[in-house]
């Protein structure tokens, strides 16, 4: 199970990674493995304003469907259109090419509230 040390994590297995003034959001390797082969990804639209914990989409495999929640409050600035035609990207490279969306965060303090890589690894170990 891969854990990106540059990311912070929610207990619902979303990650957030700072990139300039924005944050890249996706789901962790643990999550994509549990879901199995991803067949479809549905995401909220660019421009949507989010509160932390708000539902931002659904990731579907053949046997399961998982809701995705915003790890941070902010406004969606980009959505990974590549996933529409190639949802397998999410399985192959969830921290890189399989990113879900980018947000402009609105509450800097929330970042500290997310689990760091070590804490997330420990959390996954408990499951």
């Amino acid at each position: 199970m891969k854990i990106d040390p540059n990311c912070r994590y929610r207990s619902s297995h979303e990650y957030a990674r700072k990139d300039g003034s924005e944050v890249v959001v996706g789901i962790s390797d643990h999550a994509q493995e549990a879901l199995g082969d991803i067949v479809f990804v549905e995401l909220a639209e660019v421009g949507k304003v989010l509160a932390q914990g708000e539902a931002i989409g659904v990731v579907e495999s053949v046997k399961a469907a998982s809701d995705i929640y915003a790890p941070l409050s902010g406004k969606i600035t980009a959505v990974n259109a590549g996933l529409q035609g190639n949802p397998a990207l999410l399985n192959k490279d969830c921290y890189g090419a399989g990113w879900l969306l980018r947000i402009a965060p609105s509450a800097a303090a929330e970042w500290e509230g997310l689990m760091d890589a070590a804490a997330y690894e420990k959390e996954c170990g408990k499951e």
Partner: protein, 487 residues
């Protein structure tokens, strides 16, 4: 089994071939306005023999109750008596129109009325409706009745419905459709409802928000809920109603009336306990029965018997309960299915129902005894008409592989990966219509497969190899769905 690929109708089509045999038009023609007229109609063109061979060959690619043992847990795949089919195809039923009037449909109305009464009697309910088209519709009706009940009492705080974590997916889905939030109650170490968790959910202000609870008994583990009376009492004390999911009535008809242990509303699946055929996925029929004060909310129309009609020929009629939740579908239910259930019940009577439950429970316990040496049974206590085993036999071998390998042994697999609270679940329900020899053969196959899993797991992971197709690439099918012939 037919192992050969069968072309699609469109691939067998040849322009100019005709199957339909219709009379010429015997009245003057009226022109169709060109702006309304359809251009091309793309349907296949086959001659009758081609059509018959096609569907006959297709049918030979199916496993079915008439050809294989089909121990699907929670589905009650019992034998579908042929007499049911003979009864349902009588011309007086086939060509009966729902709107020609009560005067011209006394036979149908009497049948529905009688069946309503008998299904009520079996459950201990005061009134019932056969309008729902399926179990899931019966469930939705049940939850809508709960909603109507609280609304009628001006109780608008009741927003949640408690649902066990072992519940069938239709339960929480029905809650959502009726505007409730489903709140999950965990199961305890014995496979029953966790009473402490239940009490906590019903305590104080949380309890005031509980509209009711949906419960399946025996539950989806095949276990009888030993605390059922305490559970229903607790829900009632908190002001809620108890809804019974009757999918497992095969273990209970003639054994226990659910109303006697506090169930207020219940649905039965006529296509499970009452032997109507599964038809490759339907049609089903759902009966919903209620305690006396809920009768006014039942979905309708229902059949009613008029009292004191004297010499009138019209005894049976249709009526809408006083504050009905409304219609679940058009007309009066899946009548053709109701005819089948009626005949079945007439042949069985009360003694037959009890024998069915006894035989179903006996068969399940016997099969469990045969396999429990080789398969883990998470909750090993006495089961009722079905039991749940675990398929994690060896490293790299999953329940899915056992299921597929059973196919090579000539059996339809049991239900897999349900209920969700048992990992690698295999839910096995033999039903009462299976002979002991069949159970012995099935158990022998399961034991052989357990052995294969240890010494030659490739046989499982590559199964099935005796079918028209092997395991299909469901991932690609879902990523780029082709849902239609496109030429």
């Amino acid at each position: 089994m037919n192992l050969k690929e069968e072309p699609l109708l469109f691939e067998l089509s040849s322009p100019g071939r005709v199957c339909a045999s219709l009379p010429d038009c015997d009245v003057p023609a009226t022109p169709v306005p060109p702006e309304l007229a359809r251009g091309d109609l793309s349907l296949p063109e086959l001659h009758e023999l081609g059509l018959v061979r096609h569907f006959t060959r297709l049918s030979q690619k199916n496993f079915s109750i008439d050809t294989q043992f089909y121990p699907l847990g929670s589905c009650t795949m019992k034998y579908n008596p042929k007499v049911n089919e003979a009864a349902a195809s009588l011309p007086g039923w086939r060509n009966a129109h729902p709107l020609s009037g009560a005067e011209f449909n006394q036979g149908a109305l009497e049948l529905i009325c009688s069946l309503q009464a008998w299904l009520c009697e079996i459950g201990g309910f005061a009134a019932g409706s056969l309008q729902p088209a399926a179990g899931a519709q019966g469930e939705l009706a049940g939850v809508l009745i709960i909603r109507a009940y609280h609304a009628s009492r001006g109780d608008s705080m009741r927003r949640t419905i408690l649902v066990p974590d072992s519940a069938h997916g239709t339960n929480p889905a029905s809650c959502t459709m009726a505007g409730f939030q489903a709140k999950t109650i965990p199961s305890d170490a014995e496979g029953g409802i966790d009473m402490a968790a239940l009490k906590a959910a019903l305590d104080g202000s949380a309890g005031g928000e509980v509209a009711g609870m949906m419960i399946t008994n025996p539950n989806t583990l095949g276990l009888f809920e030993r605390n059922i009376e305490a559970i229903t009492m607790a829900v009632h004390e908190a002001g809620g109603l108890v809804y019974g999911d009757g999918a497992n009535m095969n273990a209970l008809a003639g054994v226990l009336k659910p109303a006697d242990v506090g169930i207020d509303i219940m649905h039965y699946n006529l296509h499970k306990t009452f032997s109507t055929p599964h038809g490759g996925g339907g049609p089903g029929a759902g009966f919903v029965g209620v305690r006396p004060d809920l009768a006014e909310f039942l979905p309708g129309p229902i059949a009613i018997k008029a009292e004191g009609r004297g010499a009138s020929r019209e005894i049976y009629a249709l009526g809408m309960p006083a504050t009905s939740i409304g219609r679940m579908k058009a007309f009066y239910g899946n009548f053709g299915i109701l005819v089948r259930a009626y005949v079945y019940l007439r042949m069985l009577g009360a003694p037959g129902l009890r024998r069915v439950a006894e035989a179903a429970v006996l068969n399940a316990n016997y099969l469990k005894a045969l396999v429990e040496g080789s398969y883990k049974i998470k909750y090993p206590r006495r089961c009722m008409h079905e039991f749940v085993a675990q398929g994690d036999l060896a490293e790299g071998v999953h329940t899915l592989d056992i299921a597929k390998r059973l196919i090579d042994y000539g059996f339809h697999p049991p239900t897999i990966y349900f209920p969700l609270i048992v990992p690698e679940a295999l839910m096995i329900e033999p039903t009462e219509t299976e002979a002991k020899e069949t159970l012995d053969e099935f158990a022998a196959a399961l034991l052989k497969i357990a052995e294969e899993a240890r010494i030659q797991p490739g046989l499982l992971t590559s199964a099935p190899t005796s079918t028209p197709v092997g395991r299909l690439d469901e991932v690609s099918a879902a990523r780029n769905p082709t849902l239609c012939y496109r030429g």
